[in-house]
C-alpha cells in the first residue's frame, strides 16, 4: 500500500487551481475528432498494404485490397451504427434503469448534471472484479458500464469519481476514438491471423510471387503490432486527462483516487475483458500490464502515478 500513501511533498506548494471555464472541460474534443480521422486514415493505409501483399502472394493484389477494404468498411459501418450496443453485448453487460439500480443510476444522473452532457445508457456487468468503461460514437449515443464488483466494493464517493472519469471520456470524444481504434485494430489482426493460419496449413499459396509472399508474412506479423501500438500510445494520455476532468466535475479528488487504488489492488480477474477492449476500462483489466509498467505497451499510465496526481489536486482544493 505504500505506493498509494498520500505523498504531499512539503516544499512544493502548487499554484491555486485556475478558475474553471466550462468549455475547457472538453478542450480535447476537437483534437480527438481529428485524431479519429487520422487513425482511420493510417489504419486504412495499413489495411491496403496488408491486403495488397496478401493478395499479391496469391497472385491478385487488387482483389486483396478490395477484400481488406470491404471487411474494414463493414466493420466501420457496423461500429458507427451499433458500436455501443455491440461492445456492451461482447462484454456481457445488461442495461439497467432507476428501478433496478437506484444508486448507480442516480450517480450517473449526478455526473450528467455536473458535466452538462446528455444522459448515457447505464449497463452492469455481472463480474466480481471492480471495473468500468464508457463507449459510443458521441455523447448523444453513449453508454457507461460498471461491474457488480465495482458496485459492491466502492462507496458512493468513489463510485461518483469513477462515473465522472467515464463522463469525461464521453465529453472528450475519447469514446469515439477508442471505438474506432478497437474496431480497426481488430480488423487488421483478424485478416493477418486468417492469412498466417491459412497460409501455414496449405504450405503456402501457389502461383503467387514468392517475394510478395515473404512481404505478406512480414506485414501480417507487423501490422497488428503497429496498429496495437498506435491504439495504446494515445490512450495513456487520455486517462490522465480524464482523471483531471473528473475532478472538475466532482471537486473531490479523493473519491477517484481511492477508487483507483481499490480497483488496481483487487485480485479478481475480469471475465468480459480481452485485448481488444482492454484500453477502454478505467484500470486495465488485463492485470500484468496495469500496475507498474510504463512501457510503450501499457494502455494506461501506472496507477500509482495517477493516484499521486489526483492527491496533488486534492492538496490544492
Amino acid at each position: 500500500m505504500a505506493a498509494f500513501g498520500k505523498e504531499r511533498s512539503a516544499g512544493a506548494s502548487p499554484a491555486p487551481a485556475p478558475p474553471v471555464e466550462r468549455s475547457s472541460f472538453y478542450r480535447e474534443k476537437d483534437k480527438n475528432i481529428r485524431n479519429s480521422y487520422l487513425i482511420l486514415f493510417i489504419m486504412a493505409a495499413i489495411l491496403a498494404l496488408l491486403g495488397a501483399a496478401i493478395g499479391g502472394a496469391y497472385g491478385a493484389p487488387d482483389i486483396g485490397v478490395g477484400v481488406a477494404f470491404t471487411i474494414a468498411l463493414f466493420l466501420g459501418w457496423w461500429s458507427w451504427a451499433r458500436g455501443a450496443s455491440t461492445i456492451m453485448w461482447m462484454s456481457g453487460a445488461t442495461q439497467v434503469d432507476h428501478n433496478k439500480e437506484p444508486m448507480l443510476y442516480n450517480v450517473v444522473e449526478e455526473m450528467k448534471i455536473a458535466s452538462g452532457l446528455p444522459m448515457p445508457e447505464v449497463y452492469v456487468m455481472e463480474s466480481a472484479a471492480p471495473n468500468a468503461f464508457a463507449t459510443g460514437r458521441d455523447p448523444e449515443r453513449s453508454a457507461v458500464a460498471v461491474t457488480r464488483g465495482l458496485l459492491n466494493k466502492l462507496d458512493r464517493d468513489e463510485l461518483q469519481g469513477v462515473i465522472a472519469h467515464e463522463m469525461a471520456h464521453i465529453g472528450n470524444y475519447d469514446i469515439r476514438y477508442a471505438m474506432l481504434a478497437a474496431v480497426l485494430a481488430g480488423a487488421i489482426a483478424m485478416i493477418s491471423d486468417a492469412f498466417l493460419r491459412g497460409g501455414g496449413r496449405r504450405r503456402g499459396p501457389r502461383g503467387g510471387n514468392p517475394i510478395l509472399l515473404l512481404l505478406a508474412i512480414l506485414l501480417a506479423v507487423l501490422a497488428p503490432f503497429s496498429a496495437y501500438l498506435l491504439q495504446m500510445a494515445v490512450s495513456r494520455k487520455r486517462e490522465l486527462l480524464a482523471d483531471a476532468t473528473a475532478v472538475q466535475f466532482t471537486r473531490n479528488p479523493e473519491g477517484l483516487a481511492s477508487a483507483l487504488a481499490k480497483i488496481a489492488l483487487d485480485p479478481e480477474p475480469l471475465e468480459g475483458a480481452n485485448r481488444a477492449t482492454q484500453h477502454m476500462y478505467i484500470i486495465n483489466p488485463v492485470k500484468s500490464f496495469s500496475m507498474s509498467s510504463a512501457a510503450m505497451f501499457a494502455t494506461h499510465p501506472p496507477t500509482a502515478a495517477r493516484i499521486n496526481a489526483l492527491r496533488k489536486m486534492g492538496a490544492q482544493v
Binding site: 471555464e21 466550462r22 455536473a114
Partner: protein, 185 residues
C-alpha cells in the same frame, strides 16, 4: 490595385466570420445558463416533492423530534415561495441545513435506519442534494464563462452591441458549502 482589393475583401470576410463565431458562442452560453437554471429548478422541485414523503415515514419513529420536523416543513414552505435568485439561494440553504439536522438526529433511531422505505428515500434525497449541488456548480461555471466573455475584449464589444447581460451567481452562505452527508449505515 486588384491585389489590395482582394486583401481588403479577405480581411473583411475574416472579421465578419470572427464576429459571427463570437456571437454564436455568446448565444450558446446564454442558452446554457438558462438550461442550467432550469435544471436547478427541477432538482429543487424534486426535493420539495420528496420531503413530505420523508416526514410521513419518519414522524412515527421520531415523535420526540417534532420541532426538527416542523423546521424542515417550514423551511420547505419558505423556499418554495422565494423568487429572486439571491433570496432563493438563502432559503434553499436553510432547507438544506434543516434536513441535515434531521438526518443527524435520525442516527439515534436504529429502527428507522433499518426501514426499507426510509433507506430508499434516503438514497433519493442524498442524490437530490448532490444534483442540486452539481446543477448549481454547472450554473455558476456557465455564468462565470458568460460574464467573462461579457467583460473581456473583444467579445465585450459584441456582447454590449447585441445586449448580452451578465448573470447573477447562485451563491450560498459560507457555512453551507459542504454537501449534506446522509449516512445511515
Amino acid at each position: 490595385m486588384a491585389t489590395s482589393g482582394f486583401i481588403f475583401l479577405g480581411v473583411l470576410v475574416a472579421i465578419i466570420l470572427f464576429v459571427v463565431a463570437m456571437y454564436n458562442s455568446l448565444v450558446r452560453l446564454r442558452q446554457q445558463v438558462k438550461n442550467a437554471w432550469s435544471q436547478i429548478d427541477v432538482q429543487l422541485k424534486r426535493r420539495y416533492d420528496l420531503i413530505p414523503n420523508l416526514v410521513e415515514v419518519v414522524k412515527d419513529y421520531m415523535s420526540y423530534e417534532q420541532e426538527t420536523l416542523q423546521k424542515v416543513i417550514q423551511a420547505r414552505g419558505e423556499a418554495m415561495k422565494a423568487t429572486k435568485v439571491s433570496d432563493r439561494a438563502q432559503k434553499e440553504g436553510m432547507l438544506t441545513e434543516a434536513l441535515k439536522s434531521l438526518f443527524a438526529l435520525s442516527e439515534n433511531y436504529p429502527d428507522l435506519k433499518a426501514n426499507q422505505n426510509v433507506m430508499k428515500l434516503q438514497e433519493e434525497l442524498t442524490s437530490t442534494e448532490n444534483k442540486i449541488a452539481f446543477s448549481r456548480q454547472f450554473y455558476n461555471d456557465s455564468v462565470m464563462e458568460l460574464n467573462t466573455k461579457c467583460e473581456m475584449f473583444p467579445s465585450n464589444i459584441i456582447a454590449s452591441t447585441f445586449g448580452f447581460k451578465q448573470e447573477e451567481f447562485f451563491s450560498i452562505p459560507e457555512v453551507e458549502r459542504e454537501p449534506v452527508k446522509v449516512n445511515l449505515r
